[in-house]
Symmetry: C2
Subunit: 276 residues, 2 copies
């Protein structure tokens, strides 16, 4: 079930610049009880991405599409994928003078993960691929995702997520989620994303809302593998899963995840994710 | 006029991974007198790119598509654009187990550039954006082109092309072409592309065929702005234009381009580009 510019079609032109060059931005939004969660934060990030990449964007039209899909869906809980593309036109890499864009919204089943991943945690690997640094694109959830695809294809059996480092061995994020460290003084640390990485909406929510509500101090800064090894808890976050504690990282096994579970409870209580 | 998997349609699914993630590779092929030029080299690069990115690719089916379009086209001379995508499927960044792919071939008018660009040369600018380094993707003509789009959007009035440097101030390429320097001892130098940049088919042809035929020594190595400033000639290359000499670079004006014009004559005589 999907809408393209408000119409129930399932295709775009082969000359859309998203097909040609990955010229677009996207959002993955969790819908619980037909209500999109963290909606304003998703819209804010989408808007910033569209401005940075010169993409047309009609927030009102998108809200209408989303309202309609949430009403008409056969499911109460699902994942919405929003993709705003540049549309057709332009010559080679030169942008069209008056971009038309394509606004794509589609419904997908919520991934059916084992409940144990929230309770006991995940096995966290580390990818060999090193992320490239590009401040002009850092933070944006844009459609140029070949690095993530290569990284994902390299996962070893048994991994539930895997860390991505940059070419200076800084820890940046995980393949499809952001990383948080809980240090032994209780400080919450998450990597700085000014050179690469995707600034997740859930990461942002944890930093600006959950941490202060739970009276956790937080810091965004460069993170080394040594920092990761020194953390007393690790967890990953994204809009669909909320947070997953890390059970196994390299040779370290984490038996308790009190801070992660405190955050998870907050997310569930505030209906930001579906209760597990 | 275009074919998708051999069928005369003009669209792909909004869930094709090229739309979602720029998961594809492309070629821009010059066709003169209904014959694709440097065809084997284009096929070779496409094949290498498909292997690197896990894309399905049927070279025989592509040959059939191209033969058909070259026969049926209303134009004798045109540009073919080939796009091999991953197709639908997979979960998030994880590749589908049995990728179907979409093979897109479309016909476009040859750009109508002023003949003076080949004769007198171009104004070459330099972009502020610095290319990111990613050895896993370097050289491949893949569909993740946001850097080139941002760079192209930053061109100043009067520029015909613009240099792109990496984050260590190495000169890599131009926005939509490769760069060659002619040094005062006659040596032909072009930047090493093992960290970033697109390894152009015309660049490859010049290095492996034209240079030896014209008894020009050539070298692929790291290039600095100082090297560029010390060159006696500069030119850019791609499959559609062949080569363009540089007339103006920063404060330097080049009045003569003997080596560039020698290469240009070779390309024209060997019908690799259309005679100008």
């Amino acid at each position: 079930m999907q809408l393209v510019n408000g119409q129930p079609v399932s295709h775009v032109s082969v000359q859309d610049r998203s097909v040609l060059y990955g010229h677009g931005v996207f959002e993955t939004v969790l819908v619980v009880a037909r209500q999109p969660r963290l909606w304003n934060r998703h819209i804010d990030r989408l808007t910033r991405g569209c401005i940075a990449l010169g993409l047309p964007f009609d927030a009102n039209a998108l809200e209408q599409d989303v309202r309609r899909l949430c009403q008409d869906s056969e499911l109460d809980n699902f994942v919405l994928r929003i993709n705003q593309t540049m549309g057709e036109g332009g010559r080679g890499y030169a942008n069209p003078e008056t971009p038309t864009g394509n606004r794509i919204v589609s419904i997908h089943e919520t991934p059916n993960h084992d409940q144990a991943l929230w309770r006991d945690g995940i096995n966290l690997g580390v990818c060999e691929l090193r992320l490239s640094s590009q401040p002009a694109l850092a933070g944006i959830k844009h459609n140029n995702r070949l690095e993530q695809i290569l990284a994902r294809a390299s996962w070893q059996a048994g991994w539930h997520e895997a860390l991505l480092l940059d070419q200076n061995e800084r820890v940046i994020e995980a393949t499809q989620s952001n990383l948080f460290l809980v240090m032994d003084d209780g400080l919450l640390v998450t990597p700085d994303l000014s050179r690469c990485g995707v600034a997740g909406v859930m990461r942002d929510y944890i930093l600006t809302e959950v941490a202060s509500q739970l009276e956790l101090h937080s810091e965004t800064r460069d993170v080394s593998l040594e920092d990761v090894n020194n953390a007393t808890e690790l967890f990953v976050s994204n809009s669909v899963i909320g947070v997953w504690p890390v059970k196994q990282w390299e040779t370290t096994r984490y038996h308790n995840h009190p801070v992660t579970h405190q955050i998870l409870s907050y997310l569930t209580e505030h209906e930001v994710i579906s209760p597990n």
